[in-house]
Symmetry: none
Subunit: 250 residues, 2 copies
DNA sequence: CTGTTTTTGAAAGAAAATGATTGATTTTTG
DNA sequence: CAAAAATCAATCATTTTCTTTCAAAAACAG
């Protein structure tokens, strides 16, 4: 059995079980304990897992891309519902802005087969957009490694070339007083700019984002329509007076 | 069994299994280990798979160019030599423009670990550039599906924000009278603009590009230094009088 | 047919992976 | 708390795989 093959098996097993024991792996792969230990050491070095006494455990850093599976399927389902609803708002002839980030990425698959134009700062959206043969414009600027978003002065200048019918974005915090917020200042500026260039603005957020505050402010609460799933009634009331909330019914 | 035939078998098997072992392939094709090793090396060069100890594994594609099946390994080798030479021209502190396209993509792996800044219109370059932790700026504009390049008005406007120490580009035709040419007019405009913003301009081209003419003109022959591999003497003379040619010695 | 290039297989030494063993360290058990 | 059990890191000999080199075989061109 090849090294890489074992590594795949180990990671696969970890995904399912959160914790694997050394002996389990020895039996499964029919190799020696030494070999498995070496494997675990290597994988730990590569930040794929954490070694613990007797085995290894999964690490839930955000660094883990495939930990998408870890997100409870409920959460994912909600996210998708919100995304689908948002995509339904797009109309023939629209020019829309799509923010970088995984929330918005879910939207793309639901975008209608109409004549639309998409502008985005999300590098991760490009393959799927082109795949759907949607005319796509990317704004210029600095390519941020961690989030795969385009940010910076170039991004703002670039946006000036466009006007949008609708823009869609994800945020990290929604708060009655502090408005929409996100951790990265540069990304906040891009969102802000895009929002100011749109006739209609939509923020996609599941219930976990409400009453949260992140570092950098994007806009006041009334400047965008919030698309979300079921909310506690008292939360709803808190926001209803200040802005529009579209609640996706399952 | 023909080389091509073996390659096809190997790739087919990889599609099904994610991992293939050397001995598996030796048995299957009834050739020697040496031959299989050579095959795997070639296929790895062409970015079709990744060699691992004891076999090979499938590489899960990023934003790779899929339509480039005709890579002959000889051609690829030349291309790589040219790319390596070009990368060697990059100096500490340089701000360089990298054109979209597979020729330039080869350069990235050879870029020196110095403080440099890269601006590009090639979406396919982004993953490897970010991977090397090189500060990267993408210009804005229309994302062209076929070539994964950013083009159009936005691209030209975007470029205006920058000035380059050096720019590197691929072309389709080089001709004493007609200059540098490429099939797509929009891409030609981007190349032209980038070239005009650079202190020094370099065109990377193997011998097959000489005396060819494509539809859209980028610049006159004297406006860029040509980096190429061995040339017939008469070809060399034809261009030497009008521009600089750097010949990469193998 | 002859000389050249390309492809192939074999072989040798280098490099990597493996499994067993050692004694140290940690955890469990009494 | 201390002994017993389990797990661990480190080392080493062995096996497997890799790279390089070379010569024979095959394909090719003139």
């Amino acid at each position: 059995m090849l090294t890489e093959e074992r590594h795949r098996i180990i990671l696969q097993l970890l995904k399912e079980k959160n914790i694997v024991k050394i002996h389990e792996l020895v039996d499964l792969t029919e190799t020696s304990e030494s070999t498995i230990r070496r494997d675990l050491s290597l994988l730990e070095e590569g930040k794929f897992l954490k070694r613990i006494h007797g085995g290894a455990s999964r690490l839930q850093g955000k660094l883990q891309e495939p930990s998408m599976n870890e997100k409870s399927s409920k959460n994912l389902h909600e996210k998708r519902q919100i995304a689908q609803f948002a995509a339904g708002l797009v109309e023939e002839g629209d020019c829309i802005f799509l923010d970088a980030g995984s929330t918005i990425q879910e939207m793309i698959q639901f975008l209608p087969k109409k004549e639309i134009v998409v502008v985005t700062n999300g590098l991760m959206h490009i393959p799927s957009l082109l795949n759907k043969e949607i005319p796509t414009y990317l704004i210029g600027g600095f390519a941020k490694q961690k989030t795969n978003a385009i940010i910076g002065r170039g991004a703002l200048e670039s946006l000036n070339l466009y006007r949008f019918d609708k823009c869609f974005m994800g945020v990290n915090g929604i708060h009655p007083q502090f408005g929409f917020t996100t951790p990265d200042q540069e990304e906040a500026m891009v969102k802000q700019k895009a929002l100011s260039l749109s006739r209609e603005a939509y923020v996609l957020a599941d219930e976990t984002k409400f009453s949260e505050i992140a570092f950098s402010k994007i806009a006041d609460i009334h400047e965008a329509v919030i698309i979300t799933n079921e909310l506690a009634d008292e939360t709803k009331d808190l926001y209803r007076s200040r802005t529009t909330i579209k609640v996706v019914t399952p």
